[in-house]
């Protein structure tokens, strides 16, 4: 084979591997929709998405309480994880002694890799009884699930934000300090604003993991299909719904679980679009001179 044809085939081969992601996404969408659409068609789009009642034995397939459940758990965990995670990231990037960092970075990597089932199990055995004792009820609740999710997404938020903070050119920091700014003023006015695109990415990544988490939530959230009256009520997430019922679902019930998957995919796509938009907007405004 001549050198030219070899190069040609290699390039086309690599292109093929690159396109595989698109093919996979395509297949996923085709198959999830193929199985899910029949349920939405027969039950009605509006009834499905905004229906308050999920009761397969009675032919009721409304996922609205679970949409609220997923969003509620996610928001609550972000509320706890984002401030703590960002402060910790600043601590690691700016304040902590170098030796401490060397130990902590691998620790964070390990923690990010721990299976979610392990976190869920920890929550089931320790956190649920604790919540029961503190706040009454069963201990299985939206709040318990958010606490476990907070622990799960902290490593992601910390490590991605820390990278973003650390990639800010050292010159900015020097310039600010040389003008007589304190370290905190420098962090607040220069380093953090410049790192915002990366910080947003970290939050979105954490949010994605929270929305998508399944088994850990099943183990601590109580899984009751209802719109929670308080954060201490049990809830069911969209993901949990699929995992709990797939084992015995048949017929339209089976299709309705795939339709639940469609709702999840939509939520993720909306998240991605928001993320891309924020990222893009932030970048442009930095170029325009506003931080």
């Amino acid at each position: 084979m001549s050198r030219w044809t070899e190069e040609y085939f290699i390039e086309k081969g690599l292109l093929l591997t690159a396109i595989s992601s698109i093919i996979i996404i395509g297949l996923i969408i085709i198959f999830i929709f193929k199985e899910g659409i029949p349920a939405i068609q027969s039950y009605g789009f509006f009834n499905f998405v905004f229906g308050m009642n999920w009761s397969p034995s009675e032919g009721q397939y409304g996922v609205f309480p679970m949409i609220i459940g997923s969003l509620g758990i996610t928001l609550l965990s972000l509320l706890m994880a984002v401030p703590l995670g960002l402060l910790c990231a600043i601590f690691l990037a700016e304040v902590a002694p170098a030796r401490m960092r060397k130990v902590l970075n691998p620790t964070l990597q390990t923690l990010a890799g721990i299976p979610s089932v392990v976190y869920g199990f920890f929550g089931l055995i320790l956190l649920v009884p604790f919540m029961r004792a503190q706040f009454g009820g069963t201990g299985f609740s939206m709040f318990t699930a958010s606490v476990i999710l907070t622990v799960m997404i902290l490593p992601i938020i910390v490590s991605v934000s820390e990278d973003a903070l650390r990639s800010i050119p050292h010159e900015y920091k020097e310039a600010s300090l040389a003008l007589g700014a304190t370290h905190w003023q420098t962090i607040k006015n220069v380093i953090f604003p410049a790192a915002i695109p990366g910080v947003i990415t970290s939050v979105i990544l954490g949010m994605g993991r929270a929305v998508g988490e399944t088994l850990a939530i099943i183990m601590v959230a109580g899984n009751v299909v209802q719109i929670p009256g308080s954060i201490f009520d049990p809830v069911r997430a969209l993901t949990s719904n699929i995992a709990i019922e797939m084992g015995y679902a048949t017929g339209i019930h089976y299709n309705a679980l795939f339709a639940t998957g469609i709702v999840l995919i939509f939520m993720i796509i909306v998240l991605l679009i928001i993320a891309n938009y924020l990222h893009y907007k932030k970048k442009v405004t930095i170029g325009g001179g506003y931080l």
Binding site: A98, P169, E171, Y172, K173, E174, A175, S176, L177, A178, L179, G180, A181, T182, Q185, N189, V190, A194, I286, G287, G288, G289, Y290, L291
Partner: protein, 251 residues
């Protein structure tokens, strides 16, 4: 003659490396002093000792004293933030913040508690005028500083430093990243500023030293070989090594 900075027996180490050895020098007030010498001779480290920027480096150690208006800046009671307000710095590579031109100059003022809009606007204008940049940016104050040319960015950094009204301005090879025209503009600016400020400039370029400074110190291997009036250093150096360097025999 009045001296603003007096350095006595200064030694600086990074880890085990002895970077500056027994430095003794007095810097005259409201004049320009050049620090010349081959790369790696310690002149940049030296000026970063004067506003304690070396404190950012964890391996930095030093002994000896640096007096600013008679007060040792390494005294534990000294407030580094105040010190850096009095001793401003312009870096080798222009380093404006990714903010608007206005916000760059206003940054130091805001950090030091000035928030009144009119005062800010007035001080920013004054600083930009002193830095000979006002006419070029008057109508684009809200645009990003990143859009300026390298020379304009460096003058912006000087304006940013002047706005804080320091006593001393340290310049670490401020023209090394600039083209000849921008360099001339910065040199003109230095001439204009020396009435009101003490300027210490590190430079590689000996012509530049003769053009802008009244006093010069020659650094070699972490020591000051010779210091004094610029004319004298360049015309009748007392040390052979100085003569070798300025006549281009090494470095």
């Amino acid at each position: 003659m009045e001296y603003i900075i007096e350095v006595e027996d200064l030694n600086v180490y990074f880890d085990e490396l002895h970077i500056l050895k027994n430095i003794n020098i007095k810097i005259p007030k409201n004049a320009v002093t050049s620090l010349i010498g081959p790369s790696g001779c310690g002149k940049s480290t030296f000026i970063r000792t004067l506003n304690r920027m070396n404190d950012l480096i964890s391996t930095f150690r030093r002994d000896g004293t640096v007096l600013l208006d008679g007060e040792n800046i390494y005294n534990p009671k000294v407030d580094v933030v105040n010190l850096r307000k009095r001793v401003g710095m312009v870096f080798q590579k222009p380093n404006p913040f990714p903010k608007s031109i206005f916000d760059n100059v206003a940054y130091g003022l805001r950090v030091h508690g000035i928030n009144d809009k009119d005062v800010l606007a007035q001080k920013v204008e004054e600083a930009l005028k002193s830095a000979a940049l006002w006419e070029e940016v008057e109508n684009i104050l809200e645009k990003s500083a990143m859009g300026l040319s390298g020379g304009q960015q460096q003058r912006l950094c000087i304006a940013r430093t002047i706005a804080v009204e320091p006593d001393v301005i340290l310049m670490d090879e401020p023209c090394s990243a600039l083209d000849p025209i921008s360099t001339t503009k910065i040199e003109d600016l230095i001439h204009k500023l020396k009435k009101d400020y003490t300027i210490i400039i590190v430079t590689h370029n000996m012509q530049q030293a003769t053009r802008v400074s009244k006093y010069t110190a020659f650094f070699l291997h972490g020591e000051i070989v010779e210091s004094g009036k610029t004319d004298q250093i360049f015309l009748e150096p007392t040390d052979n090594r100085t003569e070798d360097y300025i006549t281009g025999r090494f470095g």
